[in-house]
Structures are given as structure tokens and as C-alpha cells.
Symmetry: C2
Amino acid sequence: MSYALSGARPIGTETRARVMAAIKELGFERNAAARSLAARRSHVLALVLPTVAGGLSGTLGEFAQAASQTARDAGYHLVIWPFDREEHAEVRDLVRQGQADGVLVMEVSLHDERIDALLASQVPFTMIGRTAELDGRSWVDIDFERTLTDAVDHLADLGHTTIAFVNHSQHSLDTGYGPTVRARDAFHAAAVARGIHATDVTSDESPLAGRLTTSAILDERPETTAFVTMNETATFGVTQALRDRRLRVPDDVSVLAVVTSPEVGAMYHPPLTTMRAPGHELGRRSVEELLAALEGTAPREAPRLVTCALSPGASTGPAPRR
Amino acid sequence: MSYALSGARPIGTETRARVMAAIKELGFERNAAARSLAARRSHVLALVLPTVAGGLSGTLGEFAQAASQTARDAGYHLVIWPFDREEHAEVRDLVRQGQADGVLVMEVSLHDERIDALLASQVPFTMIGRTAELDGRSWVDIDFERTLTDAVDHLADLGHTTIAFVNHSQHSLDTGYGPTVRARDAFHAAAVARGIHATDVTSDESPLAGRLTTSAILDERPETTAFVTMNETATFGVTQALRDRRLRVPDDVSVLAVVTSPEVGAMYHPPLTTMRAPGHELGRRSVEELLAALEGTAPREAPRLVTCALSPGASTGPAPRR
DNA sequence: GCGCTTCGTCGAAGCGCTTCGATGGTTTAG
DNA sequence: CTAAACCATCGAAGCGCTTCGACGAAGCGC
């Protein structure tokens, strides 16, 4: 019977039809536990992410959607399994106990204990993001270098010469959160390449922090005419600070929000120009990577770095003449 | 051995200690599939929600967090299982195949096919929200009646006499989405009770829709001095429309966002006064309900309706003197 | 026509647990 | 002092599948 469904061995066409008919008639359902036990495979992929509590951005939704679909097409279930960052052991045990066959790990930092635990136990996993060390690790990530370069180019092309970058929190920088570190470095490299006066600051993930930070930048460098932000929550504060000072967007100051979703950009007035986080692509690719590792098939060579595309809004424009 | 872990039968203290030691030494892990097969119980609760794609609000994060913790304390895993709304059969089969023991269903509408499918298959479930019919169904929900009453009272106490309510989309109303229907009715009842001039409108979930809607209200009823909103995304448009008309918040117009999170309120300037969605409480209660159904224990009498508490911001104030 | 491979089917052996009945040692009540 | 009651442990029977080996029935070339 098993063969009729899986096709692992040749089966007579008529026999298969009879099996199918019987299944339908009796309302038969294959028992997942028995299946997993006998086949040593749960057909479950766990998407673990620390503390869903922060709220899942639109990007995560897109990601999950695409990942789920990709998994389903391959005969797997994708489930989102909430874990705190400290629960390395629990994440690892998911697979060791056979609850899941492999793990997608989000919010990876450059040195991530969860990854160490997974490696030590030989648990199949794929990182969304990258640790500093990459040997023997499967991953996909946003191309921050490219994204920040494109962002700076976009603004430089518009004539801006002094650009500020509002990054994630100082804490994320200190703890080696990949995106924060990579974006900062890429921003500076791009600024140098274009001869831009660059300022970069970190900001906590709150509108208030973004407002204060922005205000401080404007005090210190009043010649700043463009902001690149990579901090959805703080961006709300950035625009508030500009409004406080009667600076018009985009006439006086341009704002470009990177690694975010246009939906968030639409919450502003005028709608923000953004560089959209490629949630969909990332979700699909990450599952492909993981499945390749699971099924031992050679990971078909596909780019692991995905870029953010510019999504035009109305918040960037030519630098004002002074 | 099983008994040593589960305590289902008396076990010598010393024997248990020996078992534990051996387990630790050998790095033994109970196999989930075998466990499920033998015990006919997966110890998994599935939180199904349609199209995560919309992005998971902070409230959902809170909910998941609390639900996950409650489940864990009872020896269950809570997993988030993304499904489209149309996939009733798949949701049902999760339990029939033994992938999960029970289901938490979010975003329930008054007539929900998913619920019909679950009922027909005798699958244990708890609804977050309510169908029109409630017989033999386990549920928890936000107390929209109470919340809207409190909202209207809050504004009436401040002297407002003309209040507009910005609800979810017309589509959600037409398809019988419980919150939309209940909130509208409750708003009107509360307005009548306080002798308030009430307007209610629906708005698509977009800032632009919110802006246009608000603009229309102000054209039609310029004497409106307060807005109650229950549409996180559209609320962004509401404040934009007020700003367009040089109306100050809260001096000229008050805004009260209900069933939302203070974090979202903080994205505005001034920070919005909100009535916070009780995600945490809802998550805990819903798992309790489901477990009671699963384990056949009498559902300890606890309120199924949870209220939204007022979280003071700076967007509501006394009605302006005219 | 005979041995050869190929195809389709059947039967049976586990997968690693939980659970139940049986066993024997120990305590308590009559 | 004996019968009943209790406690702790052992052994074995599945749970419902997958997978493998074996077997008969065809198909092939010489």
C-alpha cells in the first residue's frame, strides 16, 4: 500500500487505482506518527525564531508564506516554532527527538550559540543570515553590501553629498548581529566610493529613539540632506524629527528606508521610498537549501545572497540647492 | 522506563534516579514519533492562521508567546501552522493524521467553513473569536462590546458629542467577520446610551483608505471632534488626514485606537491613546480551553471574554469649545 | 525451449515507545 | 499468624506504518 502512494517501487496502474478508491471510500488517513517512526523522517521543517513577541513584520509573513509553499511542494510541512534565543538545547532536541527533520534558523548573529549547538549535534539546518564562520553551514541572506551600495548610489545620483545612516540598535552591533555590522560597513564603503560625507548612528528600535537620534544628527551636521534607515520602528521617529524642524520630505531632506516592506513605507506621508526586503525569495531559497541538505542531493548552485529592490515612493528627491 | 519519566505509576525514588542518570549519560532522547504512535497523542497543538502574509502584528506575537508558554507548561508544543483560509481540509487532517492533537483557530468569522469542517470530523479545537453559533464550541474572544463602550465613555467623559468610528473593511463586514460586526453594533449602542452623535465607516486596511475615509467624514460632519479607530493600518491615514487640515491632536480632534498595541500607538506623534488588545491573556486562555477539551477535564470556569485596557497616550483630550 | 532478467505483489520484520497484566516482595489489618 | 492490600519491577503486546526479501508471472535473446 505504501508503495502505491509513494511510488518507491513499480506498481500496477490498476492496483494503484483500486488502492486509491479504497482509501477514498474508507476515509483513510495515513497516521503521521507511524509514518515517521517507520521511515525515520517526520516530514516537518521547523522555522525557529526567537521571541515572536516583537511582532512579525510583513517581511516575515512573506517569508513564511513562500517557505511554507516550497516545503509543501516537496512533501514537507513547514511549521513556525517559537523559541527564545536561549533555548539552544530545545531547538536542537526538536530534531534529535524526531519532531522535525531540519531547522531554519532566523535572526542569526555572527556568533550564534544556537548554531553551535546544532552543529555539535549534526542537526541539519539552514541559516537565514550568516554567522562569521561559514564552513559547512547552509545559509541564505540578504545582500547588505549590494543593498547599501544601491541606496547610497540612488541618493548620490540625486546630488546628495551628506548622508546619514540610521542603523539598528547599538546592542545589536555589540552582540554581533550580522545585518547591523554588514550594513554599517557597506554604507561606509559605498560612501567613500562616491565621495559622500557619511554619518552612521545606531538607534534603539523605538520611534522615540529614532527621533532623538535624528535630532542629534541635524544639530551636529545641519548640512545632512538624506537619511538611509534600516530600522523600521525608528524610522517613524526620523520623520517626526524632520517635521519638528519644519523640514519637508523630500524637498529639504530625502529619506530612504532599506530592508523593509513597501507596506510599511505606505504608512508615511509622503509614502517612503524603500528597498524592499526580499522575503519571498529568501523563504523559497532557504527551504531549497535545507531540503538539499536533508535529501543529500547536491545543492543546485543558486545564489545565496538576495538583493533588495528599490521600490519608488515619494520620499527621495534631488538634493536642495543651498 | 516510561513510568519513571511520566510518573503514571509509582516508582522507587532510587530507581528513578538511576534511570535519570543513565539517560543523561547516554544522551538519550525519547523518540517523538514512537511516543506519539504508542500513546496516540502527538503533544502538539497547532495554531492555524490564514495567510501570515499580511504580517503578524505585535498582538499576535504576544498571543503566540503566551500560548506557547502555557502549552509548554502542560507538556505540549505549540506550533504555528500557516494555512490559507480555503484549506479547511488540510487543517482538519492535521489532527486526523495525528500531526497535532488539537487546533487553535484564529481570525474566525461568524460563519466559518474551517469550523464546520472541524466539527464534522470531531476534531478538538478552540476558536480565537466566535462564530455566530456557539453550541458545543470552545472559544475565547475580545470583549468588543465592553471595549467600545469604554471607548465611547472615555471620549464622552471628555466632553465629545460627535464621534466617528473607523472600522475594518467593508469586505470584512460583508463576510461576517465577528470583530467588525460586533464592534460596529457596540459602538452604536454605546453612543445611544451616552447621547452621542455617531458616525461609523468602514475602511480598507491601508493608510490611503483611512485618509480618504477620514477626509470624507470631516467634509460631511465637520463638527466631529473624536475618532475611534479599530484598524491599525488605516489609522495611519486618519492622522494624515487630520494633519492635512491643520487639525491638531488632541487639541482639535481626539483619536482613540482600540484593539491595538501601545507599540503601534508609539509610532505616532503624539503617541496615541489606545485600548490594548489583550494578546497575552487571550493566548493563555485559549490554550487552557483547548487542553480542557483534550484531556476531558471540566473546563474550569473562567471568563471567555477578555477586555482591552485603556493605555493612556497623548491623543485624547477635552473636546474643544466651539 | 531454457535460463535470464524485469515487473508486480505478498508477507513479515521491525521502527521505539506506552501500557497492561503478572510477579514477587513488603506492609497492614484482623 | 494469615489473608488481604499495596508497592515496585519485569516482560510482552501492540501502536500503524515503511521497507526489504522472496516469490510467481511475464518478457527477452539464443
